[in-house]
């Protein structure tokens, strides 16, 4: 893959994640769970450079592993991100990636979900549900 193509693909993923977050925020006034789950799933897939066809029941940790594989395949420079996100507990890249995703989701979806709740979310289905719960008036 040429550098230009990689850039275009990255931009596409970035725009898709942004679009899904905006779509979810637009639903905030009267959120519907199925639609929000779809937004969250597509958002996570875009953030992880994965196809939206990915199984929404697949463990987030495994999605993060897939994402790292994908980034390596696409020759995406991921070193910088992991350099600033390592913890002194020597956590692996996948666990850190999941945590970074949660931080980004809170910001992009304008939701305030406690870390303790987000920590044990297993998949995008559960994540969509908890986002729905927090948006519900």
């Amino acid at each position: 893959m040429f550098r230009k193509e990689i850039k275009e693909q990255l931009l596409m993923f970035k725009n898709e994640a942004k679009a899904q977050a905006e779509r979810a925020c637009a639903l905030a006034a009267s959120p519907k769970e199925a639609e929000l789950k779809d937004c969250v799933h597509r958002y996570v897939c875009a953030k992880f450079f994965l196809s939206p066809e990915t199984d929404p029941e697949r463990l987030l940790y495994n999605l993060a592993c897939d994402s790292i594989e994908q980034a390596i395949n696409m020759k995406i420079p991921i070193a910088k991100e992991s350099e600033t996100a390592t913890t002194c507990g020597a956590a692996g890249s996948a666990a850190v990636k999941v945590a970074l995703l949660m931080v980004a989701l809170r910001k992009d979806f304008h939701v305030d979900i406690p870390s303790e709740k987000l920590a044990f979310i297993k998949n995008t289905n559960e994540l969509g549900h908890i986002v729905f719960e927090s948006m519900r008036p």
Partner: protein
């Protein structure tokens, strides 16, 4: 209830002792920047580690491991340490066989105290940070398992499960004269069964041979001759009728049917009575003397042998040894639980082919001249033969293998024996072993099947020729171990070696 060692599971308790920073700050213990410094970030990392590790554990663990509900604890940079932490981590300690622990940098104080308090083997979740987690625990005397890969760790757990299963086993001993050793037969077995109980955990349940044989008929009014007035687990009329159906099925599936149905039923009655006694005494295996009982002439009177009992027991993962060879039965328990396959025991002897004169007559008559030509050029040969082959060499849960049914007694044609054509298994690697009678060593070796022997012979002659790496080395060590070397298909030498070491015995590798 018959206690099958295959049903024993190792209870493994996952424990996570994690760490989270409570505040935003930088300094020499913070290797992060940006969002990763914010409160709550470590908690989310910890959660992802928990989810990912549990997923990995479930994937990696074999069926013989019971993965218990995990315990999770997050400590903080307040360096808080409370009794309730240990109450949580040690809640179901009595059921735990091994803790499988993941600890984070920063949580060391709590992690280490938990490791000392648990007083159980503690395995560290495999990763390259083992030295950081484990080094200090060794100094604290923790019974530690620290492996670099899941594969290595699981091998250790499988061996621990074997040790647990053996320690919980009871063996039924059918005796005529002595408790420890027979008068004739496996006089190379354990010289002190009390020592076996003390060191391996196995308990023994003794039943007199005459009382057992009295149970081969429905209980008469007033009880058996040897136990008048007592209720004993005699065979019933209904069970005899059921055994008729079993006999029909066995005969239908046999490639060769060289035994009459009524003689087959006689041997099946012996099997059923032994099973009923194992059930009564919660046993995982049976040990029966051949010569000691044979000389009572009651076997001749009842027209049966125990050979088929051993074959059918072994097929179910139940140890079953002839010649009152308790050491062979204990070896079988180890092989069953480590391999999931049914073992085979027999006289195991070298074939001396250098000058053509060393082969003893009994072996020679089992090997045709034509077959000898096939193996004549090979060196380092051994032969194993007896009358307890079965249908489960490839695995207790695998489909039945092929077999023949023959008889033991040449003249009267009683005593059902199974045969297997080991020519179907040429090239198959086998592992043989034996706990020594002084309970100091375990002989462990492997070989490769070369040729079936005795398939068409009656009596105690079914087995195969196999090739070892160094015949003389095997022989010298075998002379310090014993005649019967129970074997299983496959290479389990490493697992047996680890088991021997964990039992405090010297593994003798040949």
């Amino acid at each position: 209830m018959i206690k099958n060692v295959m049903d024993v599971k190792l209870n493994v308790k996952p424990v996570f002792v994690m760490f989270a920073h409570k505040y935003y700050y930088e300094g020499p213990c913070r290797m992060a920047g940006g969002d990763a410094l914010q409160p709550g970030f470590d908690t989310m990392v910890n959660g992802a580690i928990f989810n990912g590790t549990m997923e990995g554990m479930k994937f990696a663990m074999p069926d013989c491991i019971n993965l218990m509900e995990p315990a999770y604890l997050e400590t903080t940079c307040d360096w808080d340490i409370k009794d309730e932490y240990f109450e949580k981590l040690l809640a179901d300690r009595e059921e735990v066989d091994v803790y499988l622990a993941s600890g984070a940098f920063g949580a060391d104080q709590v992690f280490n105290e938990f490791a000392v308090r648990c007083k159980k083997p503690l395995a560290i979740v495999p990763d390259v940070w083992g030295p950081a987690r484990a080094g200090g625990l060794y100094n604290l005397g923790v019974d530690l398992i620290c492996e670099i890969t899941w594969e290595d760790l699981i091998k250790k757990l499988v061996v621990m499960r074997a040790k647990k299963a053996i320690a919980q086993a009871n063996l039924l001993l059918v005796t005529r004269f002595n408790y420890d050793l027979p008068v004739a037969g496996a006089t190379d077995s354990f010289i002190n069964l009390r020592d076996v109980t003390d060191r391996l955990g196995i308990h023994f349940r003794t039943v007199n041979a005459h009382e057992i044989i009295d149970q081969f008929h429905p209980l008469p009014e007033g009880g058996n001759y040897t136990t008048p007035g007592r209720v004993t687990p005699n065979i019933t009329e209904e069970e005899i009728a059921e055994l008729g159906t079993v006999a029909d099925e066995l005969l239908a599936g046999a490639e060769v049917k060289a035994i009459e149905k009524d003689m087959l039923i006689n041997s099946l009655i012996a099997y059923k009575v032994i099973q009923k006694n194992m059930d009564l005494y919660d046993c995982s295996g049976a040990v029966i003397p051949c010569p000691d009982i044979c000389s009572t002439r009651r076997i001749n009177q009842e027209k049966f042998t125990f050979c088929l009992t051993h074959s059918l027991n072994l097929e179910q993962g139940i140890a079953s040894a002839c010649e009152y060879d308790v050491a062979a039965a204990v070896t079988q328990l180890a092989e069953i639980v480590l391999s999931g396959k049914a073992p085979y025991m027999g006289n195991t002897l070298p074939i001396i082919s250098t000058d053509g004169r060393g082969i003893n007559y009994q072996i020679l008559k089992m090997i045709t001249e034509e077959d000898m030509k096939e193996v004549g050029d090979l060196e380092n040969l051994y032969v194993v033969y007896h009358s307890t082959p079965h249908r489960k060499f490839k695995g207790i849960n695998e489909p039945n293998g092929s077999y023949a049914l023959r008889h033991f007694a040449y003249d009267q044609k009683f005593g059902a024996v199974m045969r297997h054509n080991f020519n179907e298994d040429k090239g198959q690697v086998i592992t043989f072993a034996r706990f020594t009678g002084d309970l100091k060593r375990v002989l462990i070796g492997k070989g490769t099947i070369v040729k079936s022997v005795g398939y068409d012979l009656d009596n105690c002659n079914g087995g195969f020729i196999f090739q070892v790496e160094d015949q003389k080395k095997v022989y010298r060590e075998q002379c310090r171990s014993g005649l019967h070397l129970p074997l299983v298909f496959g290479d389990y030498t490493e697992e047996l070696k680890m088991l021997a070491e964990s039992l405090g015995l010297e593994p003798v590798m040949v």
